[in-house]
């Protein structure tokens, strides 16, 4: 009986030890590692981060974002973790959420020699972030359903009564790069006109879809004539041989131009591995990586003078929309509130 009882206690003790070991092993930290949170699609960022591991021997622990959670996940996680950050580096596929992190006090300033040849307009004056490797907001057109002379050439084509509104589409302007585009239009056109444009989109019944990839798929499948999405999404459809074409909007002289949304890199304040973070940031901001991002199809418009020809659209002589990222951010929360009121009803 004693032995039996002892063996039971021993078993319980053993179980507890296993649990403790499990917990401890989980929390063991490698000294030569860096933690990065990224909203860049895993298919692209994984390539770059694997190459970094091979080049430096520093282990990269990644947290990826998912479009299905409406991009609220990662930035809100970083804000919630601010008091005890887990991440060292934030690599964002756009820019406004990075500025939000700066304003929330979740970032620290840094200087990277790799960013020396990046224009100042793509750097935070206080050194909290650096932007590069742009993606453009474009119109994706179904070439089976529209003749070349019919292709829409402006974002205002969404309001053109010539098209059935329910056959044209955008993603929810409260989330992701469509939200960034909305903020840019508010900054460029002014609050009244920006709001009027979006209200007209909603009132006319333009299809508002569940993300840029859904927009791409609906146009590629022929359920929509055209829609607004990002270059990386549209290029996937072109690579897959879908009947689609990319149109850069508002390229006429004096036109608004196409909005380019750059990637942005930031260092997390009080992150656990600051030295490794600096090495990773230097690597990510290098001209080689910017070029690599163009090659693999994540970005299409470099901010540096890099010779590059895209296989899915013409990247030379692009007329860009002139925007000030900080000015965009200043009214971002207000714009998002308005977008919610206009589109979620």
């Amino acid at each position: 009986m004693n032995n039996k009882l002892f063996s039971k206690q021993f078993t319980i003790l053993l179980c507890l030890s296993v649990v403790m070991l499990f917990t401890v092993s989980c929390s063991q930290e490698e000294t030569n590692e860096v933690v990065i949170y990224t909203s860049v699609d895993q298919m692209y960022s994984e390539i770059i981060l694997n190459e970094f591991e091979e080049a430096t021997g520093i282990k990269v622990l990644v947290v990826y974002d998912v479009e299905a959670t409406k991009t609220t996940g990662m930035v809100n996680r970083l804000i919630a973790e601010k008091a005890r950050p887990q991440a060292d580096v934030f690599w964002n596929g756009e820019i406004l959420q990075t500025i939000r992190l700066k304003e929330a006090g979740a970032l620290t300033s840094f200087r990277s020699p790799s960013a020396d040849n990046i224009p100042d307009s793509f750097k935070d004056p206080d050194g909290y972030w650096v932007a590069y490797a742009g993606r453009a907001r474009i119109i994706i057109v179904n070439t089976d359903l529209l003749e070349p002379e019919e292709y829409p050439q402006s974002i205002y084509s969404l309001l053109d009564p010539a098209w059935p509104a329910d056959k044209t589409c955008i993603a929810y302007p409260m989330f992701g790069t469509t939200a960034t585009h909305a903020a840019a239009l508010f900054a460029y056109l002014g609050g009244t006109e920006g709001a009027a444009f979006h209200k007209a989109i909603a009132d006319q019944g333009v299809a508002v879809l569940d993300g840029n990839s859904v927009t791409r798929d609906q146009v590629a499948d022929g359920r929509m004539l055209f829609g607004m999405t990002d270059t990386d999404d549209a290029c996937v459809a072109i690579k897959d041989g879908k009947p689609v074409k990319i149109i850069l909007p508002d390229q006429e002289p004096g036109g608004i131009g196409a909005l380019v949304i750059p990637n942005s890199i930031a260092m997390i304040k009080d992150g656990p591995n600051p030295e490794a973070a600096q090495i990773l940031i230097d690597y990510l901001l290098s001209e080689t990586v910017e070029k690599r991002l163009l090659e693999i199809g994540w970005a299409h418009l470099p901010v540096r003078d890099i010779a590059y020809t895209s296989s899915c659209f013409e990247t030379t002589g692009v007329r860009l929309m002139e925007v000030d990222f900080n000015a965009m951010y200043e009214q971002f929360e207000l714009v998002m509130e308005q977008m919610g009121q206009i589109f979620i009803r």
């Binding site: 009986m1 039971k8 206690q9 989980c26 990269v60 998912v66 919630a80 998002m336 979620i344």
Partner: protein, 554 residues
Amino acid sequence: MNPVKKTETLLTGKKAHDKVKRGAQLLNSFSNLLPLLFLIVVFMPLMVLILDLGIQATGGLVNWQSWLESFYRRWVLLRNSINLAAGTAAAAMFIGLLAALRLWPINRKPWLYLRWLVLMFAVISPYMHALAWNTLFLMFRAILLPLGVELTPLGGWSGSWLVQTMAFLPLAVGLALLGLETVDPLLIEAGRMQHPDGKVTLKIALPLAAPAILAGFGFIFIFSLLDYSIPSLFGKNIYALEIFAEHSASGRAASAFLVALPLLLLSIVMVYFSQAPLREALVRPPFKVRPWNISPQWPVYLSILQKVALIILALHILVPLVGLSAATGSLSALGESVKLGRREIIFSLNVAVSTAIVAVPLAYPVASVLLNTKMRKGYWWILTALPLAVPAPLIGIGLILAWNRPLFGAIYGSAVMPILAALARFTPFAVIILLAQLKRIDPLLIEAAKILKRSKLSMLFKIHLPMLAPGMIAAFFFTFALTLGELGATLIVAPPGKATLTMRLYNLLHYGSTDLVAGLCLIIVFITALSASFVFVFLIIRESSRNQNNVRKF
């Protein structure tokens, strides 16, 4: 025996007895604390969010003006959400009840157990259903278009309603079957002596099963209310999306939680009215005999309706499987999916198994409280079911606020966090299943064991746990399967460098890799089916060995 030796033996025996007594006392005190542990693990995220809202509100950080300005718009959204949820729950329960009526009279083994297998498909997420139905629709569209037939696109409220109804159908069938199983077979047989089977069903079975069926309606209503993914995929907005929009715009969990409060209150009301009949259905001891010993003769209309319901149920199972298989393309593509997601598969299995292992002992004391507590049962029931009504990302943020502290440094940032997220979301299911099983334990057997066994510890391991085993295994399976498909909360607390299969799947979805996405969906279904098979094989073996024992005794 030598008197000294005899005394020594007696002393040793007494010491051992004392030790056992102390162990039992310790176990008892620990058992008393376990419901508290449940509250900590399951409710901590919610409590922290409430606290955060209080702090933000008193600090003037909550934008009440904006909240009031959006009141009417949000009311319209809430009304639309209620309409969709009510329509979905009504349709799912109606079809589910018809299918359950057909499954109810099955008395032959192993079909008696296998009919519950339909619950296995409850773990396929609504989003996966939407993908499968869309794939099927596009296939038909492509076939019919050259013939000049253009199918109306699947979308809008009708599309949302259809796909949500299909997604919640297995749960509806399971809950309706549970309700019908609570009807006393003797009443059915007595009714059959006087009236035709159709009348017996309508006048006796359905009124008696109605409370449990209405409770099923309540649960599906809540699940539909929280699922924004299908309506937004089909271009319609519901209230749950507003929570994400608020979170995205403000970046404050408290603001998002404030927006979520009406859903939470609505869910509390629904749970309050659902809990009593469902609890009654769950805690009713099993009947010694089965109903419908002679196969029922349904009226023609009811028989046709039942067959239609079974066809819809079959479609519900086949469309995701066929749609996903067609989209995967080939076995080599499936192999590629496995290769691509092998790390995520291993991590997902680790998280799901660990969650299921912890959920069962965590749920057990709460199930005991629900079974035994005379007073405040309703409150405990609400406490058990309430976490089901909290949006998953808010649970994730609540977990960060609760656990990202110096004291819990070893836990936060480790693989324990996704386990805690899944526990917070799915332990209530384990409670409900264990509650049903606990009531099936014959109290006379426990009393007999108390007389014959010397220690509570021994009784626990040799009597109580083996009798509880089917419920424990079922609770394990359900928690395991639900954890496997979890995304919203896991994404927010997943440790750096680790990702679950669902996270990988949604990443690929954005990239447009339909074949790989479909392949990963199939893997999730396969793992779920495999684990469900273990449960049913266990139940069948257990039943047959019990029958053999009875034959031997005879």
